[in-house]
């Protein structure tokens, strides 16, 4: 069991990237409109996040410095501040959306309107962030989120035409009736979700919370190379069941309520119940991830003491930021804004945040001042450089594609 819990940080981090509230719906929507023709983007995204999480985790283990420390040190206060503002916009908007997502999951289970759930969810979430130990938090929500594996089981139970699915995977182009612009928009959305910046903020800060040292680089790598591919797999299973059930019927996925229907079809009520538990755990876990990331990043930028490994009174500013973010999220959601739309708009800010987050990681991972002998090898540098170029291209393309397609329509 100890070994299972050792990878909980990687799994929880990946859940926030691949199956948070926005991704749950986006994955199903992509499956229903494009089949598995965008599956390659998820694979490319998994490799990318593995490359940079491994670097940021290694820097955290060897030097004890989490990612936003590096951003400020390498970009200076001006550009660093621009990144802080953009990253916090992405992370805070996602945090708001996740609280709404937990409320939506509870609405599906109870038929009580999500708006009524919002204050309750926010209060419980804050108590968790205030009181619950980091280790417990990552174990419970990381592992409970794996209930989403039920989508993979459902795919197998649906007994699909595997050859047909494989053909969709190997023909990376829009399905009939869809344009290249829409295809491009969702490719960018999936790639952006896989590499969203709060994953490295959370993963590296979580490493410091777990007191990693240079000896723990091995554990860190297991977290990276198991956690993120698992997240990608969950994301692909959701798209695959949607491709099997919704694509032939030409059903458009628009709401969270539609996402678990293929599971209900394949596995009945019990499957549906497990899917709902998975939704709850994944959105709640992503809410913890983004909520803590807001606090971590601001604290690291300004050099404050942070983290859940010290009593709250010793990290007062950090906990004040977490408290204020939770309090601010509630009135935003009470306007009845659609949480899923909120995650879509947060992509705009990723355009600035992504390159300015991953560049400093790549630079510091090559700095012997920090890393000693643990500097990047050739493979990490080659992949890191290629991905940095891809990230810049994707960042530049994101906003025009969003405007041209009116948000993927």
């Amino acid at each position: 069991m100890k070994h299972i819990f050792a990878v909980a940080l990687g799994v929880l981090t990946a859940i926030g990237g691949f199956v948070d509230i926005g991704d749950l719906v986006t994955n199903a929507l992509v499956g229903s409109r494009f089949g598995l023709s965008l599956a390659w983007v998820v694979v490319v995204g998994v490799v990318g996040i593995c490359v940079f999480s491994e670097m940021s985790g290694r820097v955290a283990a060897v030097s004890g410095r989490a990612t936003f420390d590096l951003v400020r040190e390498r970009l200076g206060p001006r550009v660093g501040l621009a990144n802080l503002v953009a990253s916090m916009a992405v992370t805070f908007l996602t945090f708001i959306a996740e609280i709404g997502g937990v409320a939506l999951a509870l609405e599906l289970a109870t038929s009580v309107n999500e708006v009524l759930w919002v204050p309750v969810v926010a209060a419980v979430l804050w108590i968790v962030l205030w009181r619950v130990r980091f280790k417990v938090l990552e174990n419970v929500f990381g592992l409970l989120g794996l209930a989403l594996v039920v989508f993979a089981v459902a795919l197998w139970q649906l007994n699909p035409d595997w050859g047909g699915l494989w053909q969709q995977v190997t023909s990376p182009m829009p399905t009939p009736g869809e344009g290249w612009a829409q295809y491009g928009y969702y490719a960018v959305a999936l790639f952006g979700a896989a590499l969203t910046p709060y994953e490295v903020f959370f993963f590296s800060s979580g490493g410091v919370e777990e007191r990693w040292t240079a000896k723990d680089v091995g554990t860190m790598r297991v977290n990276v190379f198991l956690g993120f591919p698992l997240g990608g797999l969950l994301s692909l299973s959701i798209a695959a069941v949607a491709a099997v059930v919704f694509l032939p019927a030409e059903v458009q996925v628009e709401a969270l309520a539609q996402v678990p229907l293929p599971v209900a079809l394949a596995l009945g009520k019990l499957g549906l119940a497990i899917a709902l538990i998975g939704f709850f755990a994944a959105t709640f876990g992503a809410a913890c991830e983004t909520g803590l990331s807001v606090g971590y990043s601001i604290a690291q930028f300004y050099g404050w003491r942070w983290g859940k490994f010290v009593p709250p009174r010793q990290a007062a500013r950090f906990h004040l930021v977490v408290l204020l973010s939770t309090v601010l999220a509630v009135p935003v959601l009470l306007t009845t804004v659609d949480p899923i739309a909120v995650t879509e708009y947060s992509v705009v800010f990723s355009a600035l945040a992504l390159p300015l987050t991953y560049l400093p990681i790549l630079v510091i991972a090559n700095d012997p001042d920090y890393m000693g002998e643990r500097v990047n090898g050739r493979l990490a540098n080659a992949l890191g450089t290629v991905y940095l170029v891809v990230i810049v291209v994707v960042s530049v393309a994101a906003i025009p594609l969003m405007i041209i397609t009116k948000g993927g329509q």
Partner: protein, 130 residues
């Protein structure tokens, strides 16, 4: 690398680094440095400056001047100075700048103390370690 060396790039090795106390706990960031011209005309770092009063002037445009203005307004003393840590307290630097004093003896964290006294300590469970 250590600042006790005869010469070094303070912009690269000091500015914007994390300052940690003797227990490796974060104190603040090096938001600016105070330089002193020695008798031989060379510059030496005499202190590390921290807080909005030091970071504000390094932030461009209105945002920087507003930072300083708000910080001045919130400080009780009429002519506030940025947080200051004497360079002689620096023991060594690696990925962080290590100082020999305790964080609370350095008195560079007014906002932390305010947040602790006014908000965090009033919530049950504030003193409990993880």
């Amino acid at each position: 690398m250590t600042p006790l060396r005869a010469s070094y790039d303070a912009g690269l090795h000091l500015l914007d680094r994390q300052i940690v106390d003797h227990e490796d706990l974060p104190v603040a960031n090096v938001d600016d440095i105070e330089l002193l011209e020695r008798a031989d005309g060379r510059l030496a770092v005499s202190a590390l400056l921290t807080g909005p009063g030091a970071l504000g002037p390094r932030t461009p445009g209105r945002l920087g001047s507003w930072t300083v203005a708000v910080w001045r307004r919130l400080r009780p003393d009429p002519d506030p100075r940025p947080g200051r840590i004497e360079a002689r307290l620096v023991t060594h630097t690696d990925s962080a700048v290590h100082v020999s004093a305790r964080a609370r003896d350095l008195s560079v964290d007014g906002f932390e103390q305010w947040a602790r006294a006014q908000v965090i300590e009033k919530i049950p469970g504030a003193g409990r370690a993880d």
